[in-house]
């Protein structure tokens, strides 16, 4: 049996390694978080939306689903949908993000609050709402926050889906959302 074999093989030639290092790269009193977050997000092809832009978006698309608690917009409902396979025709999905990371423009999304985990990946366009006070400096601060987050599936989303697999040419909108809007 493989399990026994592998464990035995690991046991058979023990060696000493270094101690598990501790580290602390968290930033105590971060400054300009908003400015830095916006710069990182834009560099990753995310759009920072003003209320006007958001209204334009919702006017432009017919099948809009709003699952955010932060904004007041009534879109279509997901009532009666039992399978993720039925979600293919969403034009625009609006959800809440828990917090943003200034060093890379990523936003933590805990999908447990969503009816289907696939939603932020299958929608044609995605808007994530976050609060300006919910920003951290770097990934160390981010994981310090996540530690207390109980999630089944959680994801850092750092922009619209993209690829450079054809001759290193950057193409936005590979397989997931074609655009990511961030609304504060």
């Amino acid at each position: 049996m493989s399990r026994k074999d592998i464990l035995q093989s690991l046991e058979s030639s023990p060696f000493k390694g270094p101690a598990l290092p501790d580290f602390n790269f968290g930033v105590k009193n971060p400054t300009n978080l908003l400015e830095r977050f916006i710069a990182s997000a834009k560099a990753s092809a995310s759009h920072i939306l003003e209320t006007n832009d958001f209204n334009d978006l919702t006017a432009k698309y017919s099948r809009v689903i709003n699952l955010s608690n932060q904004i007041n917009y009534k879109g279509l409902f997901l009532d009666g949908i039992n399978s993720p396979f039925e979600l293919n025709d969403i034009d625009l999905l609006v959800i809440d993000g828990a917090f943003g990371v200034a060093e890379n423009g990523a936003i933590w999304v805990n999908t447990d609050v969503l009816p289907f985990r696939v939603l932020p990946f299958i929608a044609e366009h995605l808007v994530i709402c976050i609060k300006k006070e919910n920003l951290v400096a770097n990934m160390h601060d981010a994981y310090a926050k996540i530690q207390s987050d109980d999630y089944g599936f959680g994801v850092f989303i750092a922009g619209p889906s993209k690829t450079a697999d054809i001759e290193q040419s950057l193409v936005i909108g590979a397989q997931g959302p074609r655009s990511l809007g961030i609304l504060f």
Binding site: F121, A142, F153, V155, I166, E167, A174
Partner: protein, 453 residues
């Protein structure tokens, strides 16, 4: 027998293509440098990452058991596979038990290593690679030539031709945005019909039992969250002890790989979704054996960023396929000989030992040193047929100052008058694609005698 210089010869016939390949990868290396320079604590992160990995490997048994226990508590089924065959059998059994016909797979070098695709295709499954680059090479029936940029060797015109044939794309349109969209439409159809999803794993976390998968396209997540059955195939060396360790590795990985500060999606798969089934297959396939090899142990620290390939002057000019091993480039060249010394005895020599791979490695694997150690081992094992005789002759010559002096004089004179065919011929590989320098009129020793005060 296939070997690197022979394969590379084929690749470098098209010099324009070599220049293009070289420049494309160097561009990625430059993007890496820019990204790295924005992190003042970069070197400290590298040190800590190397320590975390070395510590985990030294205690792998107990961390694997922790991981198994925590993953099971999350509702995940954990399997153990001692080799590629066991891995493929476990996957097959899961698929058959659930009546799966159509599988979507995201990028995974491990399933490549295990030969999962041909194994399943031979048993009438439809398996679709969903990463764009992987889909391109799957259609061309080729292995990936790079671990992060699998189709880096292919030009857009070739992709255009391929998509016309396979997907009915319009003739003459080779715009990457257009072609990507054609693939998106085709792959979305595959996603909407899938019965199961298979992914690789970037990191497994012992204290939470979760697995982390990093992608830019979103393909892994579309598969996992649509399909009722998910299988994550994971090498046993992918573990980190604590969730907070992820911060170190996530900061290093994408910056080293493509110069991005983070991949677009960094997905943390912890608990099984309602109504779904999740499996993790822990694969050894030679890893525990390598762990027992003290000199080469640290090669298991690799996080598969591909930075060593992008920076390697040999890789850039010879292409990934020349390495005839699942993982090409410098890291592949130190991984391969441990699996079969004879079959891969050429690979540790596919290097100038310039050291650049070691300098960019985010987990500080001493790749150049291990290349050198493998060379010694290969020489001792007598796997260097051609070079042995000439090296012996050279060693004799160089050991005697007198014969060295005489030979030097002879060559300085001879090279001036010898006809070209005597110097540039198939026995002298040095003159392949380059001329010998003009010999000096006198030796350094003579010059020194004359000019010393």
């Amino acid at each position: 027998m296939t070997n690197h210089p022979k394969n590379a010869e084929e690749f470098i016939k098209d010099t324009d293509r070599v220049d293009w390949h070289d420049a494309a990868l160097w561009h990625v290396r430059q993007k890496r440098d820019i990204a790295v320079d924005t992190v003042p604590e970069w070197e400290e992160l590298r040190n800590i990452a190397a320590q975390i990995k070395a510590h985990t490997l030294a205690n792998l048994r107990s961390y694997l058991l922790d991981f198994e226990q925590n993953a099971m508590a999350n509702g995940v089924e954990v399997h153990w596979a001692k080799d590629a065959e066991a891995h493929n059998q476990i996957v097959l059994e899961i698929l058959q038990r659930n009546n799966v016909k159509k599988i979507v797979k995201s990028k995974s070098m491990l399933t490549e290593e295990c030969g999962l695709n041909p194994f399943l295709e031979g048993r009438d499954f439809e398996i679709t690679d969903t990463d764009l680059g992987e889909r391109i090479i799957q259609m061309r029936q080729e292995p990936p030539s790079h671990i992060v940029l699998p189709a880096i060797h292919i030009k857009k015109e070739e992709v255009g031709d391929l998509f016309r044939k396979e997907l009915g794309a319009e003739p003459g349109n080779n715009d990457p945005a257009y072609l990507t969209n054609q693939a998106r439409i085709h792959l979305r159809e595959k996603f909407l019909q899938c019965d199961a999803a298979i992914t690789g794993v970037n990191f497994g976390v012992a204290d939470t039992g979760e697995v982390v998968v990093c992608t830019n396209e979103g393909n892994a997540d579309l598969g996992v969250h649509l399909a009722p059955i998910t299988i994550h195939s994971m090498g046993i060396e992918k573990l980190v002890p604590r969730q907070k360790d992820l911060a170190v590795f996530i900061r290093l990985l994408a910056r080293s790989a493509t110069g991005q500060p983070i991949t677009i999606y960094t997905s943390h798969h912890k608990k099984t979704a309602k109504g779904a089934e999740k499996h993790i297959v822990l694969v050894d396939n030679g890893r525990s054996k390598r762990l027992a090899m003290e000199k080469y142990r640290s090669s298991l620290q690799c996080i598969r960023c591909g930075a060593c390939m992008n920076t390697c002057p040999i890789y850039r000019r010879s292409g990934g396929h020349s390495y005839h091993f699942t993982i090409p480039g410098p890291i592949g060249s130190i991984l391969a000989p441990a699996t079969d010394l004879k079959a891969y005895s050429d690979l540790p020599f596919a290097s100038t030992l310039c050291g650049s791979c070691g300098d960019v490695c985010p987990v500080k694997i001493d790749i150049p040193n291990q290349l050198y150690l493998w060379r010694q081992e290969i020489a001792e094992a007598g796997a260097l047929e051609g070079k042995r005789k000439s090296m012996k002759a050279a060693s004799k010559l160089l050991a005697s100052p007198r014969s060295y002096r005489n030979f030097g004089w002879l060559m300085r004179l001879g090279l001036r008058f010898m006809p070209n065919f005597l110097i540039i011929n198939r026995y002298n590989v040095w003159t392949k694609g380059r001329d010998l320098p003009k010999p000096p009129k006198q030796s350094f020793k003579d010059w020194y005698k004359k000019n010393q005060r």
